[in-house]
């Protein structure tokens, strides 16, 4: 069936800020879909509150709205843009929910807009637990015995009837938020109460526990005439019980025969057909390990994280095909973009094995519970491809960048056998390493299976790796053993570590014996047809296919990607990498990307001329360098991952485009940077570089407390703390030494001023500063966690001039070519101090590019290649302020990670961000809070408990809440201060005092907000910690800085705000930030 020509203008809904459970995969899907729609001549309108995405580029969609994802906002955009259709299946659960709300309210019908890609009925059938169950029963597809309950009591009764353990799944939440397994009634009551609250419709499914069964997923496509195919199936190594997003996953399935494979495939096809899905769909099954019995766990009637993984694992562009199907095409009419010979109506055949490992945030949340459950906790993931399971697993492990490079990376050797046995029962992110240790000690494989329920086949493969470790330890390292180890995926440094031979010698031995990586192509068809899209992975022992691609004769540039999404290094760096690739491409380069993150746009097969899906370690990168012989590499855009590879690249003889390594060092090395500051006459907070705790203590005493303590060479403020006394210093140094031993530690005077940030482009002589961003929170809170305002609202002209001048001086002194990011502190007396210089792209680049209309990355690439800013059509220096405000709001995922400390500080904790754009400051602020999910007022009750040093400032905040009609509850001393100053406040008891306490109040579910500024110091805030955790877990907004509270009040004080809110098409922003001309 050809394309439906009635579809001329489509509104695509994005997924909003990156949170745990909804990450970059939707930028990938949305971007691919928008490009696919554009290809068909469809006018696209895109809405997404997340400015760090590529989908919100004006090159991707015709009209772009970076607006809060609420029904009201969407209605306004629809009324303004008048699209004929809305495509809601590419924006994750958020997009789907919005699409459904728009449809259910009748708004779409009234305005003659239709949903494409799915229907409200389909969404309901798949997402509403009861309807889903009925639908499955109708077509004879088994589901585990279950009941939808709306109260804790009903849940308890039902659970008693089917027996514990039971699984609890709230309806309409993302990433299985609020779900879990209850082993007994007490646990059931706790989890169920929480789940009921988090569910959009107050429903939770209680079901028979099938944990321990195999978890198998199918990615299915269906078109409007009912043609169905499966793109790929995947087997979770971790059996049912661990959320698939937190599981190690392998594609295709490994331990099921064709019978089970086809049985489940047919079931998936039946389901998608019954649901009448037009597009992509993900079906998750639980398969009994000892029979053909299976249950359908879940169906996602949209593209998902799994579909992004399946796309990258097979080369089949699910989102692109889904968009074409939404336009009316059938699968046999859509060309396979990889082979260009076959069609979308086939099933990819893999001739390799794919392993995905989640990137979990426990290095950031050291207090959090590491256990893995049906509640997803991973912030991102890595994928590796190889022709054996062992080497794919090894590659995936070292792609994680968590200081792990083999199964021996966690040292459990000190544990006794019985402790290991006990550890095997713990389901957390280290389980696979524990299994390896158990195998090293020759534990019985069957025993390990019985405990973990991980299929014996996987355990046997882990054993193969452990056996190789043993051989490397005991046998002489001859060429054949070395070859076998390389085929199994052991990197040189690990072989060196185990065998005791130096790494260099191993490399030489490989060279002399021709043990070299060869690159194989991902072609969707196992070489059955000729493919023309160069998408490669490495293997040892085989013919190299990358050389078969014709040399273009153009200069080659290697773009180093940013690896897995983690807190502190998110999707922004993928944005930068992709734009850098496009920038180099425009300048006539052949572009080569290396990256290992399956969720991203950069690993889409048609972004660069060549894609290498590989770990980002020196050895893996060197393999690509040896094959490609690039003219240069660019590391400025891939975050710390890429920067860390600079030295290795230089040693390989690869030229680095942009600022040279020596100058990068001058910015990052404290002593050298001090010289730069002296040379340029710029002040910075006084500080010292130390190596031991004692040196740190004496430095701090000299500087006077409070001081800022942090390791050098970090991103996202990892390991950074404000210390108030000697004891805290000692404690922090201990933690720092665990994370980054090799680098010195910095101790700085902590300065209480306004934090200001700039991104600038330097061509070696001139600079271009698109704009100055001012943080709402005072210095001390990580810039990534601060609310950031452009243009800076409170800085004097003098300060702005000083900042522009300092930026120019620093960029010149560091001979910056390309990007530089500088953070300053502006003191009340207009003095400006420099606190940090990063001669590379930063996380604010996408945001500031979009709101100023200046293509920063593209200009930076040109500057790197020797062009002058003046010749690019831009004036040098600080650009004129925009005539609107753009406010970036951090977004957190604290409720997903049990036990994580939520108070903000110098270490970054947010997972994503959203933007509020408006002509007025307070409207922009309102939009930003709305986008971040803070929708107030509701019950008009607030709890305030602040530390002593904040007591003076809390008075005005209290007054303003009162004026808004809020009832204020406060702990003893806070209440006293408020009342003494004429603010009506009710005193509440602390947790350990008699009931009713602050905790009872929180659990009463009628509180809008908790303002809790943590007491200085580290271990004396048990009470505060509990309050903050319970509040977050019960869905109450928590603010831990007074500046944030102040901003929130400002946004709330205009009551007609939502009515007046004006959506702004940012594609209309001309350069120089004019939206209203």
């Amino acid at each position: 069936m050809p394309r439906d020509n009635d579809i001329k203008k489509v509104l695509v809904i994005g997924s909003g800020p990156i949170v745990i459970g909804q990450a970059a995969e939707f930028d990938y899907a949305g971007t691919q879909a928008c490009r696919s729609l554009k290809e068909e001549g469809v006018e696209t309108v895109l809405v997404n509150s997340n400015p760090a995405t590529i989908m919100t580029d004006k090159e991707i969609a015709d009209h772009v709205y970076i607006e809060p994802l609420t029904v009201k906002c969407l209605e306004k955009i629809i009324l303004k843009e008048k699209p004929d259709s809305v495509l809601p299946t590419l924006g994750g659960q958020a997009g789907l929910n919005l699409g459904m709300e728009l449809s259910e309210s009748g708004f779409l019908k009234e305005n003659c807009v239709r949903l494409i890609g799915t229907t409200a009925e389909t969404i309901k059938k798949a997402e509403d637990r009861l309807e889903f169950k009925d639908t499955m029963e109708k077509i004879g597809e088994p589901v585990a015995p279950s009941l939808v309950v709306e109260s804790v009591e009903d849940g308890a009764v039902f659970a008693r009837s089917i027996g514990y353990p039971v699984v609890l799944r709230p309806a309409y939440t993302l990433g299985g938020s609020g779900g879990g397994i209850a082993e007994n009634e007490a646990e059931l009551r706790e989890i169920l109460a929480n789940g009921l609250r988090l569910s959009r419709v107050g429903q939770v499914l209680v079901e028979r526990c099938i944990s321990g069964w195999k978890e198998i997923e199918y990615e299915v496509m269906r078109d409007s005439i009912g043609n169905c195919i499966t793109v790929c199936n995947m087997e979770n190594i971790d059996p049912v019980g661990v959320h698939t997003g937190d599981s190690i996953v392998v594609a295709p399935s490994q331990t099921i025969s064709d019978k089970e494979y086809q049985m489940l495939r047919s079931s998936a096809l039946n389901i998608i057909d019954e649901l009448k899905i037009t597009g992509g769909c993900n079906v998750q099954f639980a398969l009994h390990p000892n029979s053909f019995e299976y249950c359908v766990i879940e169906v996602n009637p949209r593209v998902s994280r799994s579909s992004a993984l399946a796309s990258k694992a097979t080369g089949y562009p699910i989102a692109k095909v889904a968009a074409k199907i939404a336009l009316g095409y059938t699968l046999d009419e859509i060309k396979n973009a990889i082979t260009k010979k076959t069609y979308a109506s086939f099933e990819p055949a893999l001739d390799y094995c794919v392993v995905k490992i989640p990137r979990l945030p426990f290095d950031k949340f050291i207090t959090a519970k590491r256990s893995l459950t049906t509640q997803m906790k991973a912030t991102g993931e890595v994928m590796a491809i190889s022709n054996s399971f062992e080497s794919a697993l090894m590659k995936a492990i070292r792609s994680l960048e968590q200081h792990v490079d083999s199964l021996a990376s966690y040292d459990f050797s000190v544990l006794t056998d019985s402790q290991i046995m006990k550890r095997l029962k713990v389901v957390d992110d280290r389980r696979i390493y524990v299994i390896a240790e158990a195998l090293r000690r020759s534990f019985d494989m069957e025993e390990i299976y019985k405990i973990t329920k991980i299929d014996m086949w996987f355990i046997s493969r882990i054993k193969n790796l452990v056996d190789m470790e043993k051989r490397l330890k005991s046998e002489p390292l001859g060429a054949s053993l070395l070859r076998e180890a390389k085929i199994m995926g052991f990197p040189d440094n690990v072989i060196a570590g185990i065998s005791g031979e130096p790494e260099k010698l191993i490399r030489d031995k490989r060279r002399t014996n021709h043990i070299e990586a060869a690159f194989k192509m991902v072609d969707t068809c196992a070489a059955e047809f000729e493919a023309s899209t160069p998408y490669f992975y490495s293997v040892y022992g085989g013919e190299d296919e990358s050389g078969e691609i014709k040399n273009t004769g153009r200069p080659k540039v290697l773009v180093i990607g940013s690896g897995p999404i983690r807190i502190g290094q998110g999707i922004e760096f993928d944005f930068c990498s992709v734009h850098a690739t496009w920038g180099f491409s425009k300048k006539g380069f052949e572009t080569i990307i290396i990256n290992n993150n399956p969720e991203t746009v950069s690993t889409d097969f048609d972004i660069a001329d060549k894609l290498y899906f590989e770990p980002l370690t020196p050895e893996d990168v060197e393999n690509v360098v040896r094959t490609e012989k690039p003219d240069g590499a660019v590391v400025q855009f891939g975050g710390q991952t890429a920067i860390k590879l600079t030295e290795a690249l230089l040693n390989m003889g690869v030229r680095i485009y942009g600022t040279d390594a020596e100058n990068v060092d001058r910015a990052e090395d404290r002593e050298l940077f001090d010289e730069v500051l002296q040379e340029t006459g710029i002040k910075r907070p006084a500080g010292h570089t130390v190596f031991t705790a004692e040196e740190a203590v004496s430095a701090a005493n000299e500087l006077k407390y409070p001081v800022l303590v942090r390791p050098s060479y970090v991103l996202g403020g990892q390991g950074m703390r404000i210390a108030f006394n000697d004891r805290e210093i000692r404690e922090f140094i201990g933690i720092i030494n665990r994370i980054a031993q090799d680098h010195p530690i910095l101790v700085d005077k902590y300065m209480m001023g306004k934090e200001v940030e700039v991104d600038a482009i330097c061509d070696g002589e001139d600079i271009l500063i698109p704009g100055i961003m001012e943080h709402i929170e005072r210095a001390g809170i990580h810039s990534g966690d601060s609310i950031s305002v452009y243009p800076a609202p409170t800085l004097s002209e003098k300060v702005k001039e000083t900042i522009a001048d300092y930026t120019r001086r620093l960029a010149k002194a560091l001979h910056v070519l390309g990007m530089i990011n500088i953070q300053f502190i502006a003191m009340p007396d207009d003095e400006v101090y420099c606190i940090e210089v990063n001669p590379r792209s930063s996380r604010t680049v996408p945001y500031i590019s979009k709101v100023t209309g200046i293509p920063i990355v593209d200009l930076a690439v040109k500057a790197m290649l020797g062009e002058k800013i003046r010749d690019m059509g831009y004036e040098c220096g600080l650009q004129k302020d925009a005539d609107f405000f753009a406010i970036k709001m951090p977004v957190f995922s604290f409720e997903k990670v049990y036990g994580a400390e939520i108070s903000l500080g110098p270490e970054m904790k947010s997972t994503g961000e959203c933007l509020g754009v408006a002509a007025e400051y307070d409207e922009a602020l309102y939009k930003a809070f709305l986008g971040a999910g803070i929708r107030l007022p509701r019950y008009k009750q607030v709890i305030i408990t602040v530390k002593d040093s904040d007591k003076a400032e809390i008075i005005n905040i209290g007054k303003r809440f009162s004026a808004l009609g809020y009832k204020i509850y406060a702990t003893r001393s806070t209440a006293k201060v408020l009342r003494d100053n004429g603010v009506d406040a009710l005193k509440v008891n602390k947790i350990n005092q008699e009931s009713p306490t602050i905790m009872d109040l929180i659990l009463g579910h009628r509180i809008d907000l908790v303002i809790d500024t943590p007491t200085e110091g580290y271990d004396e805030h048990r009470d505060g910690f509990m309050i903050r955790r319970v509040a977050i877990e019960t869905g109450i907004n928590v603010i831990t800085a007074l500046d944030t509270a102040d901003a929130l009040l400002t946004s709330m004080e205009n009551k007609d705000r939502e009515k007046e809110m004006e959506p702004i098409d940012i594609t209309g922003i001309a350069t120089r930030g004019r939206a209203f001309e």
């Binding site: 069936m1 004879g140 321990g212 069964w213 005439i225 009912g226 043609n227 169905c228 195919i229 295709p252 399935s253 490994q254 099921i256 025969s257 064709d258 019978k259 494979y261 086809q262 049985m263 495939r265 047919s266 009994h288 390990p289 000892n290 029979s291 053909f292 019995e293 059938t330 699968l331 046999d332 076959t342 069609y343 109506s345 086939f346 099933e347 990819p348 055949a349 893999l350 001739d351 390799y352 094995c353 022709n387 054996s388 019985k450 329920k453 299929d455 014996m456 086949w457 046997s460 493969r461 193969n464 068809c525 196992a526 070489a527 059955e528 047809f529 000729e530 022992g541 085989g542 013919e543």
Partner: protein, 393 residues
């Protein structure tokens, strides 16, 4: 032990030996199925050929004997990237390696199967030799390879005597996989009732029908697809005269898949010609499809490298629907040689446009190139057996 795969074009792959220690010369073909290696090994259509599996990890789930498509392995040799040392599946009782030994099939592992596949794709199917003899004489072997061709295979694989398979009485009979009922232990307290095999069949529409199945290299699941719908099936050896089959008075005739060049089967084609004229409804698969086409005057030719795998899209030209099918064929009916007055194309391959099925005019005959009986592969086109039964009724 080292093993070598030497191709007719002089290419040599060095790997490790698996299975029986015996030198073979055979036609080398590749199959892209990711599961179903046992079904491939026991598919009689592979007689005279050595199969290279493009998916690199083979033998992961061991050998589940229920899944065998005939009593023995028919492939001459097995070429893989890696045979799993450990196997894991609740139904399996032995390893792939022990199966190869038991059935005397030699093979090679540890070679770059993707490189081999690309050679076959570029240059077309060719002959090759698997040997463990390190002192092999390449020129001599290539000489022998050039002489080799797949001949006389249908007689070799076909049933030697006629036999009957009774249709099932109730649908439930299809549900339990024989010999593999095992209670689940260690997962929950309650043992599970029984293991259910995929419930493909939804209706006992074939009950009481008598089907004659001409075995030219039949996969077991063709007979099973009919008996599981209630049909009583009698399997006839390939040399059976048409008169005997007609004398049996079947309600319908099924002609199976099979190996080799269809044009070689001149005697069988002659008999099929008579069956076509008999007016008895006929459904034919793969080689059967080619033989009927030849009997009806069309021509077949050898494809460059054939279709072997579980992912081939086939379009039903009447409805426009596309089905993913299991395929295994090196020859194809040349659509341009079909007399439009006799038959019309019913299915076509979406990838390369080759013929995938014919519908005969004014006759109750339809034939398909692909495998609706699956094993290995998708079950999507299993409804064709219902169509056949419907045609009879």
């Amino acid at each position: 032990m080292k093993a070598f795969l030497i191709l007719e074009d002089g290419t040599v792959f060095t790997g490790q030996h698996i299975g029986a220690d015996r030198e073979i010369i055979s036609e080398i073909v590749f199959n892209t199925s990711m599961t179903g290696y046992l079904e491939v090994l026991t598919d009689p259509s592979y007689a005279g050929q050595a199969v290279c599996m493009t998916y690199p990890l083979m033998g992961n789930y061991g050998i589940c004997e229920d899944d065998m498509q005939s009593d023995r392995a028919w492939t001459d040799g097995f070429i893989v990237h890696e045979v799993s040392g450990w196997y894991s599946n609740f139904r399996s009782h032995s390893s792939l390696q022990s199966f190869l030994l038991k059935h005397d099939i030699p093979g090679i592992q540890g070679i770059d199967t993707r490189a081999l596949t690309k050679i076959l794709r570029e240059k077309g199917t060719m002959n090759g030799c698997i040997t463990t003899n390190e002192e092999y004489d390449k020129e001599e072997l290539i000489g022998k390879m050039k002489e080799y061709s797949v001949t006389g295979v249908v007689e070799k694989v076909s049933a030697k005597e006629k036999y009957s398979c009774k249709g099932v009485e109730t649908l439930e009979e299809n549900g339990t996989a024989a010999g593999s009922v095992r209670a689940a232990t260690g997962i929950t307290d309650k043992p599970f009732v029984a293991e259910r095999v995929p419930a493909v069949v939804k209706e006992m529409n074939g009950k009481g029908l008598k089907i004659a199945l001409l075995d030219v290299g039949m996969k077991r699941n063709i007979a099973y697809s009919l008996t599981s719908r209630g049909c009583d099936v009698t399997v006839f050896p390939c040399g059976t005269k048409a008169e005997e089959i007609m004398g049996f008075k079947p309600d319908g005739i099924m002609i199976s898949n099979g190996p080799g060049d269809p044009k070689e089967c001149t005697e069988i084609i002659k008999e099929i010609g008579k069956l076509i004229e008999s007016g008895i409804p006929i459904f034919a698969i793969c080689l059967g499809h080619q033989l009927v086409a030849l009997a009806a005057g069309a021509d077949t030719h050898k494809m460059k490298y054939g279709h072997r795998g579980s992912n081939h899209p086939v379009k039903d030209l009447e409805t426009g629907r596309v089905y993913i099918t299991s395929q295994n064929h090196g020859y194809v009916v040349d659509e341009s040689t079909i007399d439009g007055k006799i038959a019309v194309p019913a299915f076509r391959n979406v990838n390369d446009g080759t013929n995938e099925g014919l519908s005969y005019r004014n006759k109750k005959i339809f034939t398909v190139q692909f495998h609706p009986e699956a094993c290995a592969g998708p079950l999507d086109s299993g409804f064709l057996f219902d169509r056949f039964i419907g045609m009879i009724r």
